[in-house]
């Protein structure tokens, strides 16, 4: 029987534990207890009977409590187990449950004992009834436990509900806090526009602003108010300035309108002026004031390469300031120059490099074309700028020296070509051919400036690349690169040692005056020579009246021939070797042969005329054919004659710039020959018969000094000859 009981109870317990395993136990016990107690109260009567036999203890306490609960709600005669539950102590219920279980176990054991002992069923019955009561108590306790559990659950739920609400509230608050913080942050980050406005400084503000704006009593202490006040002041000022601006605008508009009107008026003037200009052109030409031309020139000049530009400006400036007979013009293809100045200059080096490579590739296959290529490259290297400058130097006698200046772009040098135009016909003199030769006209304008080699040392390397041996081969084509031309163009090359540190226009200006004077002097000298030569060729020695006093009235010896010689011919002459060894004859010089005759005597004079004549005196070397040949080397008197002609230039040059030097020298030569011949026959006692040359010249002494020189010096007013 006991094993059955265990079997019956077991699933119940398991079921309970499955729902809420741990806390259920206590609660179940409590519920059971309350259920038991309520059960007890419900079946009061029956219990009273039972109670008698049962030990008191906890049971009694439970009863008392039941009663008190009943007493507290006397009017409500509804059985409310829930109310009863409130009044019960779960602990007591638990104790009751324990006691009941213990009592049940005891009764079960007694029943067991009785049954096994074979006792009477009444006793067993008795015991069974007691057990049932106990079961009822258990049931009651169980119910109470359930109710308690439910109640506990409800309470928990309620509490949870409350917690949830509070949590929600908390969340809201937190969110609000966050939002507020964000707002605060935003506020803190807020930048007022006024901060960007540049305000006048505080001091200035207080000084300038009127009191009603600055309100110093408020703003002194309150930064905010101060700022506001300053902003107010700023606003005030800006308003005022805006007003001003508006006024200015209107004024500007007015002025613009006025300008417009005036412009219209001016543009209406233009055609009128143009008409006047047109009409004035003949007048300009007549008065030689080429305004218009200058304007056009300036327009074109912008396309000139820098050296030519410097040259033009400096020459023009010099012409304006010092030399009215100087004119500058630009010739050449302007469009080409424009095209040239537009694209960036591709460097010559690159070009030639690539050319070189190309050449290397090609050499194997096409050797024949290399020459053509080189030719092209040479042409390119020697290319000159499309624009050139023409400077015309007019002389008083109307002849003009045209100088054409070119710029060789790739060599960076200037060259010059010349042309002379004269008023008179110059075809007369044969020997004068070289004088105005454009090739040699400007040779040695400055000493040893031959204009054959390029003055730019860099060109040497450029030439090597394309196989040009000397620039001299091209001067006839390209013009002469004289050093003075470079200087006039402001080009300075460092090859010729230490030089002035001038460059560009300053360099040009520093050489301009001297060069122009030299050029003019050169032309005048050449023209004068030209004229003199044509009369010399007709055996007339032109002696101007200014120089008449240098010579006696009667000169018997006369020039019979005047011819040109080449340098080669000159060097082959026997009596000029001393000049050659002294280095006084250069290839650039002009060489002439003069023949002076008197009777049987024939005097040959080889003349070296330096290109810088008359600055450099022509050099005479003499050879006399008379009773055998004598020269300056063998005859001291001939040597003295040479020196008489060559050395005393200051006596012979005549009026500046000494253009009659050569003719005076020749004339003096004739005079000296007269003296020589006349005195020679005097000195020579050996000759018999009538003298060939009767003595006509008045001489104080026929010989003097150890070398027995003849008196070659003519004293003008007295008309006698004396020794030096």
């Amino acid at each position: 029987m006991s094993s059955d009981a265990v079997k019956k109870r077991k699933p119940k317990v398991i079921r309970n534990e499955a729902v809420t395993p741990e806390p259920k136990r206590g609660r179940a016990e409590g519920d059971q207890l309350s259920a038991v107690s309520s059960h007890v109260k419900f079946r009061k009567v029956r219990l009273r009977q039972v109670q008698v036999s049962y030990p008191a203890g906890p049971h009694l306490i439970g009863q008392r409590k039941l009663f008190t609960a009943k007493n507290q709600v006397p009017d409500v005669h509804v059985y409310n187990e829930e109310v009863e539950l409130e009044g019960r102590d779960p602990q007591q219920d638990y104790m009751l449950y324990k006691d009941t279980c213990a009592a049940l176990a005891k009764l079960m054991a007694e029943i067991q004992e009785l049954k096994s002992g074979g006792a009477k069923s009444a006793e067993i019955e008795e015991r069974r009834r007691q057990c049932s009561v106990h079961f009822i108590t258990l049931k009651k306790l169980n119910r109470l436990a359930h109710m308690r559990l439910k109640k506990g659950r409800d309470q928990t739920h309620e509490a949870k509900q409350r917690v949830d609400v509070l949590h929600l509230q908390l969340q809201n608050l937190l969110y609000e806090v966050m939002h507020l913080q964000k707002e605060i942050g935003k506020c803190l980050e807020f930048k007022s526009q006024h901060e960007e406005i540049e305000l006048v400084s505080e001091g200035e503000f207080f000084q300038d602003a009127p009191a009603e704006i600055s309100r110093p009593h408020v703003t002194r202490d309150d930064q905010h108010q101060l700022t506001l006040a300053r902003l107010d002041w700023e606003l005030e000022q800006r308003k005022r300035l805006a007003e001003q601006y508006k006024m200015s605008l209107t004024r500007k508009e007015k002025i613009q309108k006025a300008i417009e009107q005036k412009r219209e008026y001016l543009s209406s003037l233009q055609p009128g002026l143009q008409n006047i200009m047109q009409a004035s052109v003949p007048v300009q030409e007549y008065l030689s004031m080429p305004f218009e031309q200058m304007q056009k020139q300036a327009e074109v000049a912008r396309h000139l390469p820098p050296p030519l530009y410097v040259l033009m400006v400096q020459t023009g400036a010099y012409g304006q300031a010092c030399d009215k007979n100087l004119s500058v013009s630009i010739s050449g293809d302007v469009d080409e120059a424009k095209a040239l100045s537009r694209p960036p200059e591709d460097s010559q080096d690159d070009e030639s490099d690539s050319d070189a490579e190309e050449e290397q590739q090609n050499t194997k296959r096409r050797r024949a074309t290399v020459g053509v290529q080189l030719d092209d490259k040479r042409k390119e290297m020697l290319r000159r700028h499309p624009l050139s400058l023409c400077v015309d130097l007019k002389c008083k006698d109307g002849s003009v020296l045209h100088l054409f200046f070119y710029y060789l772009m790739n060599l960076n040098i200037l060259t010059v070509k010349t042309k002379v135009s004269t008023t008179t016909d110059l075809s007369g003199a044969v020997s004068a051919g070289e004088l105005l030769n454009t090739e040699s006209l400007l040779n040695c304008l400055y000493a040893s400036d031959h204009g054959k080699e390029t003055p730019n040392p860099a060109n040497r390397y450029q030439f090597d690349k394309v196989g040009i041996t000397t620039f001299g081969d091209y001067v006839s084509d390209l013009g002469h690169p004289y050093v003075w031309v470079q200087k006039l163009g402001g080009l300075q090359f460092s090859s010729d040692g230490a030089q002035s540190e001038l460059a560009g226009s300053a360099l040009s200006a520093s050489h301009m005056e001297r060069t122009m004077k030299l050029l003019r002097g050169r032309l005048q000298a050449r023209l004068a020579l030209h004229k003199q030569f044509s009369s010399l060729e007709h055996s007339i020695i032109p002696v101007s009246s200014e120089c008449q006093h240098l010579f006696p009235a009667k000169v018997v010896s006369s020039l019979t021939r005047w011819t040109m010689m080449s340098h080669q011919e000159f060097t082959e002459l026997g009596f000029v070797q001393h000049v050659l060894t002294a280095g006084l004859a250069h290839e650039t010089d002009l060489f002439f042969m003069a023949v002076v005759e008197r009777g049987t005597a024939r005097l040959l004079a080889a003349v070296v005329v330096n290109p810088r004549y008359p600055e450099v005196t022509p050099l005479f070397s003499l050879s006399l054919h008379w009773k055998g040949e004598r020269s300056g080397r063998t005859d001291d008197n001939l040597r003295a004659m040479e020196s008489e002609v060559n050395v005393f230039r200051s006596e012979l040059q005549g009026p500046r710039p000494g253009l009659q030097l050569l003719t005076n020298q020749i004339q003096r030569l004739c005079v000296c020959l007269d003296v020589y011949l006349e005195t020679e026959s005097q000195v020579c006692d050996g000759s018999e018969g009538p003298k060939e040359f009767p003595r006509e010249k008045m001489c104080l002494r026929t010989a003097r000094g150890p070398s027995r020189l003849k008196p070659f010096k003519y004293n003008h007013p007295q008309g006698f000859f004396s020794h030096r």
């Binding site: 050099l619 060559n646 006692d685 002494r701």
Partner: protein
């Protein structure tokens, strides 16, 4: 001085300094150049040492005559004698110590002075030149004390015979006159051009060089250079030199002569030309021997060139000094 002037320069006179270390030379432009022989002859001589250490204009006309006394250099050109202290010249100071002019009779042209010699017996300077007369100046007082007249044309050269105290003068008139320096009277007159052996009428009769050595006299010019025995007054040998001679000297057993032609002639007393040494100028005016200083024993010749040839060994030209 430009290259053309150099080309036409002639050197007319030379004189060694008393110490023998310097040479003064005068040219046709009136300049005197002083060369340092010691520098030019030193082993480390350069181009620059052949240039004058001093070059100054002494006279208006050519410097025809130069003469050194113990202390001074005397120079003469157009009628004027100037003296320059050698000590000062070496210090490159070119201030004349004194200047004298003989009293000339002509006024139209100043006569030149072609020759000067010192008479050591009474310390007088004998000057001959363009006015045909010989002027004798007392070196102590600087006064011209006497004039020797006799030549009919200008005087080319002078010479002094110390033993007899005789002055020899040769002139354009072709005469060599011998004067007694004590009495200032003419002793002899030899008209060289009248002697057939030496006359050269194609040139002329002038005597432009004179030299004496004891009883012997050298004279030449228009006539051939000839050696004369003075006691017999006859030419003993005539030298067959083509040109006119301008200066001749006795040197040991040789006669050296210069003149027209670019060479120095070495002649023997017997009348043969031993050698003709070529030199730079095309004709020569002057020859000088520096015998005072054994260290710088040279012969220098100058003529129609700006160069003065220097002979250390007399048989060839060593180098040239240049103005």
């Amino acid at each position: 001085m430009g290259p053309v002037e150099l080309l036409h320069m002639s050197v007319f006179s030379q004189s060694f300094s008393p110490c023998g270390r310097f040479l003064a030379a005068g040219n046709n432009y009136g300049e005197i150049a002083v060369f340092s022989l010691s520098a030019a002859l030193s082993p480390d001589a350069s181009e620059a040492s052949q240039k004058p250490i001093l070059n100054f204009t002494a006279h208006d006309g050519p410097v025809f005559s130069l003469l050194s006394t113990d202390t001074h250099l005397l120079s003469a050109g157009n009628g004027e004698i100037s003296a320059w202290s050698w000590a000062e010249l070496i210090k490159k100071s070119t201030k004349a110590a004194w200047s004298r002019k003989p009293s000339y009779e002509t006024s139209l042209e100043i006569p030149e002075i072609n020759a000067m010699i010192i008479n050591p017996k009474d310390n007088s300077l004998i000057v001959g030149g363009g006015d045909n007369n010989i002027h004798i100046m007392d070196m102590e007082t600087g006064t011209f004390k006497s004039v020797l007249k006799g030549h009919t044309d200008y005087i080319h050269c002078l010479c002094f015979k110390e033993r007899e105290g005789e002055i020899l003068s040769g002139g354009e008139d072709g005469a060599v006159r011998i004067w007694d320096s004590r009495t200032n009277r003419p002793v002899h007159c030899i008209e060289v051009f009248k002697y057939e052996e030496c006359a050269r009428p194609q040139f002329g009769k002038w005597i432009s060089c004179l030299a004496t050595d004891s009883d012997w006299m050298l004279c030449g010019g228009g006539p051939s250079l000839s050696l004369w025995h003075l006691r017999s007054m006859s030419p003993t040998s005539v030298f067959p030199l083509p040109g006119c001679q301008r200066e001749a000297v006795f040197y040991q057993d040789l006669i050296m002569s210069v003149g027209e032609g670019p060479h120095v002639s070495h002649c023997l007393h017997g009348g043969t030309v031993k050698a003709q040494i070529p030199c730079t100028p095309s004709s020569l005016n002057t020859l000088a021997l520096n015998l005072k200083n054994t260290e710088h024993r040279v012969m220098t010749v100058g003529g129609s060139s700006h160069q003065i040839d220097v002979f250390t060994n007399f048989s060839y030209r060593a180098f040239s000094l240049s103005f």
